[in-house]
Structures are given as structure tokens and as C-alpha cells.
Amino acid sequence: MSEYRTDDPMEQAYLTESRELLANVDNDLLAIERQGDGTGDRAANRVFRAAHSVKSGAGFFDLANLHHLAQKIEGVVDLIRSHELAPTPEIVGTLRLGFDKVKDLMRHFRDSNPPDVSELSAALSRLIVEHLPAGDKPLYAARVEVAVPQESPPVEASALDLRRARHSGKSIYLIRYDLMRDIQRRGINPWEIFKRLIDSGTILATVLDLHSAGTLDDPPSNVLPLAVLYASALEPAQVAHLVELPRERLLVVEKNRPLPNVPVA
């Protein structure tokens, strides 16, 4: 089937980058299956990054199916790279099917009738739940509200993602864009900024606040807030620099400290 074509330059960039990342996944899955040759961990990290990037981008572009499936794959690969799940041929086979479906979804992109991912998604979920450490099991699939200072309502995020971010010593930030001011007046490309965030931490939630523009009965409003809940080992000033925003537009929700010997990727 031919690849999806789009007129949106940001979607084009996302699809091209995702296809490049996915092109190496088959070889890396093979290396993971043969863990014995010592290349498994590096390969697992690469496969994790591929799933993480596809997932985060799908969140940005509001592609629910793709986000959902990539998130499950990311969860399984995370267990493999932390040695909580042994990559048996059966498990790697399920991941291969998962990535094939991801590529399929990317070909269908904004189809109103996308391919069904429910069965595969359920199989990946079962793998995750069976192998999560006991303390993490109750958090799987749970959503929690993160109380955000000076901001209402609270932002909702995955309980497991939050726990993992805290456990690896990442601080939690709320980045507040105003798409009107920052994009129209300053010419910032939000996808470029989003990619930088993906490369340096974990995007926990993205909330575009369309309601702040009010209705036709309300006084006119010139703001379009986009809030990004973000976990990173970077310091506040580094995050502000990364997103090209003044420091006051970055809220430190939780200051955590990187722990020794814990990878922060």
C-alpha cells in the first residue's frame, strides 16, 4: 500500500522521522532475541526510543490509535530493557506484529476507519501487567491528576509514567505555550520544540485549551494555551532554553533529583 501523503509540513516531518526510526526496528528486534551476543541492551534502547518517539508524536498530532498502540509497545520494551521481561521468541514476535501494525496505522494516518488494534493492544497489555514489578501493577492503566500551581484544572497523566519519572529522579515541569503569541508572533515551529522535548525527557501529557478562546458570546480572547506536562533530568533553566520560552512560562511541579546509576534517557 502507498504511504500516506499530507500537506501539513509538521506531519510530513513526523512521518519521515518515524519511518526512519522504524526502518531499523526489525534488525534490533533480532538482536534483542539473541541477547547473548551483548547487543541486546543497546538494541532495546533504540527500539524503546523508536516506540517513544512515535507515541509522543502521535500524542502531539492527536492520533489516538497510534498513540495507544505505541504506548503498549513502549511498555513491553521498557520491561525488556530493564530485564524484568525475558525476550522470548514469542514476545519478540508479538512486538514485531505490534510494529507492523504501527506502520500500517501510519499508512492510514487520518483515515476515518483505521485498522483495528484492539486485539494486539490487549495482548501487549497482558504482557505488561504480568511482568510489571508488584508495586507498579496497580498503577498500570491508572490516570492521576497532577495538581499544577497557578493552573486550573489539573493535568491528567499516566500513574505509571509519573512513578517511573519520579523513580529515575526526573523533575516534573509544566511548560505553558501560548500558540498565538509564540507561533504567530515569534514564528516558532511547535513540532521542532516537541521533538527537542522528546529527545531530552518524557512528555506526560499535552493539553490544548481551546476553551480559553471562549464563545461568540464571550469577550474576545487572543490566547490559545498549550500546556505540556514534562518529566526530565534537566534543570529548569535548561528546559526553558530548550523550549525557547522565558523562565516564567515554565512551572516546576516537582523537583526531583537524578539518582546515581539510573539511566535518565
Binding site: I183, P190, A213, T215
Partner: protein
């Protein structure tokens, strides 16, 4: 000049030769509010001949979307120039209501 066409619950508004900027937004807002109050639920804003939409114009279109969404209706923007289409893409608002370009390309 703002050209208004009504048919059933559909209304097409064409701000012909006007940019959707701070100076023209109040009049357009009045027109949009009028057609929605008058029962229009499928509102199309035709941007043929519109060169520029500034932040107050984008705020107005989102407000129209919010009003219609509450009432179970829909806003669509058609015939946007490629510059305006790019701007809508950058702001991700085309994920919330339909935006199409001059040659019918979907946003």
C-alpha cells in the same frame, strides 16, 4: 464586504476582500453570532480573497467553533490560502474543525 448565504441550517460567510484582523473581527463576530442565534448549525467561513488572519481572527474562528460545538453544530473553513493553511496547521486547530485550502486540499 461580508457576503452571507443561508440555506436551511447552513450558512456561508465570505468576508470578501477583507482580512480577518483586529479591525474587521468585531463586525464578523456580530455576523457569526447572528447566524448562530438564527439557527445555523453548519457554518462555513469562505476565505477566498482573504490574505491574512491574525491572532484575533484565529480567536474568533475558535470562538465560533466553541459556540457551534456546544449546540451540536460544526464550523468549516474553506478556500484558505497556503500561508493561512500553514498557520492553522502550526496551531493544530485543524484537528478540531475542518480547514481546507484553495484547491480543496484538506488541512
Amino acid at each position: 464586504m461580508i457576503v452571507l448565504t443561508r440555506e436551511g441550517d447552513k450558512a456561508v460567510i465570505r468576508p470578501s476582500g477583507l482580512d480577518i484582523v483586529a479591525s474587521s473581527v468585531p463586525e464578523l463576530r456580530t455576523q457569526l453570532r447572528g447566524v448562530v442565534e438564527d439557527g445555523a448549525r453548519q457554518v462555513v467561513v469562505d476565505l477566498s480573497g482573504v490574505q491574512m488572519v491574525d491572532s484575533s481572527g484565529i480567536g474568533l474562528l475558535i470562538a465560533a467553533h466553541n459556540s457551534l460545538h456546544r449546540l451540536g453544530g460544526k464550523l468549516a473553513v474553506i478556500h484558505a490560502s497556503s500561508d493561512i493553511l500553514d498557520l492553522f496547521h502550526m496551531m493544530r486547530i485543524h484537528q478540531h474543525f475542518s480547514v481546507s485550502g484553495n484547491d480543496g486540499e484538506r488541512g
